[in-house]
Symmetry: C2
Subunit: 433 residues, 2 copies
């Protein structure tokens, strides 16, 4: 199959559907069967040397030409659209600073994952912007949601993939869950913890599993990322109950308080794990109901926190606050302490500011009826958001405030399940032993 | 052994060392071998009917007298001291409101766990105050630390137990870890997720395991709580790397980024799980170095967060901020976004305010050298706190600011390992698969 070649040789690699020319790089330890070539574009491409791959020696290292990127169209495959928004999955190491910078051409990432083209046709790649996820605001969520809805409403499109920076990917996933109404096809949010020019690139399997997810009957916004540290499967996790729980691991994304929607193997097998699922249908149209109130904040309560911070938000005309409360939903109600929060909370709520509590513990459900402090806070008008993740409560509040006329309606909507964010029964196995 | 008795009978129960008189209550399903009696004080006491327990029928329900609480002294057992501070472990259901309220007499909780007296002698019970943990401030940490140091320096005392509300128990554990200098004996922080008058009271096993921990050679401040949902073992978890990760489960406390110090069985067996341990010694004295700067805050960064909040803290003369950053340690550095944080952060740091970043993901380690944003923030003077938990960084910052002369010294001290809070190597098994 493969010609003899060594580092720095210029080779032509042919796989089932594509040809790549590049310079042979050193292989990675333990992965000697993966040929890594540096393309003329500067990116590295890893190719597993299987029977279907042929490698021809064409010369020694020299300046080459960028290969053309023309994904083939295969009649028997469903089509998807891809919205790229930036992040590590579409980035490379900037060798001048040593840091990682965004790619300019989003399609270049797919060069590193040619298998994608054996699973789906890529009908369209849309790049509304390319930023890191920590730079996102609700304005970007609105743009992404509009693009996603537009593509979903194309009858030829089976589902839409959004590639995204991982850090705040879960915020975007929950925001899309509330903004997209009448969802009838799958939406996969995908990121990578390693850039595409590294041998340890994890985005490839995520893209492959996401493509399989988009062929499935699960019409939910899901984060599709590694389910373990091995490259053996991904989980599709509901966009409202997912959180990045590790700074750097491939399997950093975890479902909170429920099981993943499905386990997805790179070979396309999908094992459903959760009965609460919205299924694909060809009825209706997806609407991006993008109205969003950005004057909201997320506050973490801590011991000794001065309640004066609440007055700051009131003076600045914030419309609503999500407060990560202690334990089952407490902040200080002890009037002997200078830092008691109750009087200031009452003032805010009286002034019409929505105040919602979420669990600082991340897992579990808050409940105002266990401790006297909870009862006092509940009576003061604090809205107890049950199991809702702080991040999800934040994006939901932005959406709800833009769609409600008064505080009572806001509270009612916040406590109405819209996208699986309020869980009736938390299974014990949704928390690791 | 036991006389025949039924619900509402008045009985006299004798165990190895104690006598209790009370009214027989219905047994709990599946726990028919545990006799529950309501004491004259109103609290329920559960007694496992073993061979050593005798029950005498003395009449029918009527108003009885409160039994005297005199724990026996046993020469062959080591002694401990207990500091009770409030919380569910020393509370009971307030039947007027249905909520849980603190007990008045701390020793009453030990009536529900008479086994404790077979493990250690209780030399002293100190109750400096009784509050819920969400009402605590650094002032209470200082009081607790002084009491702990005083008891530890009693040569007859093997170790000190602190009973505490669970919600913010981990803050107090980390605060004590920094305040107590020259620690040469074990300190156990213990709470309960269910009040002591409930059949599901979990504090009993926690107290028992904590008593065993205080007999061990591990001279660390540790949280000793259920290691599973069963009543089969506890973990002793280092006070600086522990977090309440569930609102209500018995095993809510989890070690973050390292293994527990030890697994403790209720029968006294202790299995060490972590090599990084400070051991018991009879040298020196423990000092409570309680100076603490309370003008600090913990901020959670979120998408679209307005950097103006930073100026608020500067105007209010805050000395330092801990910011839970995205992913590997990012906030918005994108100058095209209105919500870019870099210029305001630079202003704060220039004005002498300490700014430390911690991982919002909870698990893992932040690192300024992976992304260009991290490099920019690092150059702006942000202090990257590695794996340090936000909660731990907050208590450490309060201690460090009270012990440092300038911003450079603060940064240096924050990056110096003091109580195991900076972990050199994070083991893969410290994150659940």
């Amino acid at each position: 199959m493969a010609a003899k070649f060594s580092v720095n040789d210029k080779v032509l690699v042919e796989t089932k559907g594509s040809k790549y020319e590049g310079i042979v790089m050193p292989t990675l330890e333990g992965q000697e069967d993966v040929l890594i070539i540096k393309l003329a574009s500067g990116y590295n491409l890893g190719i597993k040397l299987t029977k279907e791959v042929s490698v021809k020696h064409v010369g020694k290292a020299e300046k080459g030409k960028q290969p053309s990127i023309k994904p083939p169209f295969r009649k028997n495959l469903p089509s998807i659209s891809i919205i790229t928004t930036g992040g590590t999955i579409t980035s490379k190491v900037d060798y001048s600073t040593g840091g990682v910078s965004p790619l300019i051409k989003p399609e270049e990432v797919f060069l590193a994952t040619p298998e994608l083209l054996d699973i789906v046709n890529i009908k369209k790649i849309v790049q509304p912007f390319a930023i890191w996820s920590e730079d996102m605001t609700s304005a970007e969520w609105q743009v992404i949601a509009k693009e996603v809805a537009k593509e979903l409403n194309d009858p030829e499109v089976s589902g839409v993939m959004v590639t995204h920076g991982t850090d705040f990917l879960h915020y975007t996933a929950s925001a899309l869950s509330f903004i997209l109404k009448g969802l009838n096809k799958p939406v996969a949010i995908v990121g990578g913890q390693r850039s595409s020019d590294r041998g340890s690139f994890d985005g490839g399997m995520n893209l492959i599993c996401a493509a399989h997810y988009l062929k499935s009957n699960i019409a939910e916004v899901a984060v599709v990322m590694h389910g373990s540290t091995q490259d053996n499967f991904c989980y599709a996790i509901r966009g409202t109950n997912v959180r990045k729980m590790h700074t750097s691991r491939r399997d950093a994304f975890r479902p909170i308080n429920e099981l993943p929607l499905a386990k997805i193997l790179p070979d396309g097998r999908i094992e459903r794990m959760n009965k609460i699922l919205n299924l694909r249908s060809d009825k209706g149209k997806v609407e991006a109901d993008v109205k969003f109130e950005p004057k909201i904040a997320l506050i973490k309560y801590f011991p000794g926190a001065d309640p004066a911070i609440l007055e700051y938000f009131m003076e600045k005309k914030y419309k609503g606050l999500i407060i990560e409360a202690a334990g089952l939903g407490q902040v200080s109600t002890n009037e002997k302490q200078k830092t008691v929060w109750t009087p200031t909370l009452k003032k805010l709520i009286k002034a019409g500011v929505f105040v919602g509590f979420t669990p600082q513990t991340i897992y579990g459900r808050i409940d105002p009826f266990v401790y006297s402090a909870g009862r006092i806070l509940n009576e003061a008008g604090v809205c107890y958001l049950g199991n809702m993740l702080s991040e999800t409560a934040y994006t939901k509040l932005g959406w709800v405030l833009a769609h409600s006329k008064n505080l009572e309606e806001t509270k009612k909507l916040m406590l109405t399940n819209m996208a699986g964010e309020l869980i009736e029964q938390i299974l014990p196995k949704a928390f690791s032993d």
